[in-house]
Symmetry: C2
Subunit: 224 residues, 2 copies
Amino acid sequence: MTYYKEYSKVWVSVDVIIFGFDEGKLKVLIGRRQMDPGRGEWSLYGGFVSADENIDEAAQRTLKKLTGLNNLYMRQVGAFGSIDRDPGERVISIAYYALINVKDYDEKLRVEHGVEWIDINKIPTLYSDHNLMIEQALRIMRQKIKTAPISFRLLPSLFTLTQLQRLYEAVIGEEVDKRNFRKRIKEMDFIEKTNLIDKKSSKRGAALYRFNTKAYNEDSNFKL
Amino acid sequence: MTYYKEYSKVWVSVDVIIFGFDEGKLKVLIGRRQMDPGRGEWSLYGGFVSADENIDEAAQRTLKKLTGLNNLYMRQVGAFGSIDRDPGERVISIAYYALINVKDYDEKLRVEHGVEWIDINKIPTLYSDHNLMIEQALRIMRQKIKTAPISFRLLPSLFTLTQLQRLYEAVIGEEVDKRNFRKRIKEMDFIEKTNLIDKKSSKRGAALYRFNTKAYNEDSNFKL
DNA sequence: TCAAAAGTGTTAGATTTACACCCATGA
DNA sequence: TCATGGGTGTAAATCTAACACTTTTGA
């Protein structure tokens, strides 16, 4: 039994915007497209939604295929559906953005897939409407980072306050005052100071902090 | 030539969440579903995306078909793609929300399509994941109304400050202080007082205001 | 010993909130 | 004349933004 047979079907794909934080910059994973049409152009990583999977699952699968990682933070950006957005066929694509800690990403796997971390301020022209997708993902993330604890998805589980601040600055695209920033962090009890010291970043050493998920869920209020 | 023939295609539909403001309440247009499966269930109005139209166009077309109106404010909510969200077939749906001035909607057309304005606080269980769609649309709109001049899409072109305030309250779901609200409105030069008086709402009469799009585009800053 | 990053408080200004009464009019 | 919604200002409290020096230590 087919209810909708008078209507036409289309291909639906997912594209993932993978953000990472490295060398003080917010970066995104892009590579050279490995299929026609557009083979060789800079592009987001993506895949087709198959008949028997949820779109969120398709995005998770695509993300896993590229990074080998599970349980990453991922959110939908939206659907992109101009008729000729894809030069080959009519394909509707649903964009997602994901956050990963660059250090968790196996370098071998990265090279294998031919993708690179590119500074969000230096993104070349990409295949199809992928530049637009990144722009929108960024807009959403910039807003999100002020009201939800997503920074921790981009950092190692132990981090210094300077790292956290640099990340915040890289995302919103402007510098903030160190003392004011730290004051606000101190008010969030779920960002815990450990008694570990990071010696890599400075001679003096900086206190390492950690995000306490449990405390956050109980206490729950976030505002940067 | 077909690039992607190894992948499967799916049906893609659009569903529109049409908000209106009437009798001091924020309402949404829903009706009884007129096709199988789910015939007779409460449902959003929707339609299929055809092979030769953008998804935004499909949404516009659907909206036009239902309301007869063009140039309505409309924004995408997102894509909904659980495998079994539709009880009949695998259909991915892209939700949009639109804002209309209830008075602009031809009552005859409304009855013809069998849709009704339902208070957002009294929405019954809807077909498929339509309740979820409305919830998300509301969340987006609640946020939007604080930073963008969208209220005017839900009001007649001339409105009183009390109307504007009641609308704002209906959207965010809480009451606000009259004097503080008016103070903020006064700061926005693109909300212009006319010398017309509305006598319907009170004996004394209330000044009618209008939104000046041109002034807004030049002056442009909005914050409620 | 000095360069480099870590760490720390105070104050002025801006914004937000709370709050109550008079006005004009039609019924 | 009175009930109804329209219209108006001030003060306290909170939040935000600006700002500079001391500490530690490895090279």
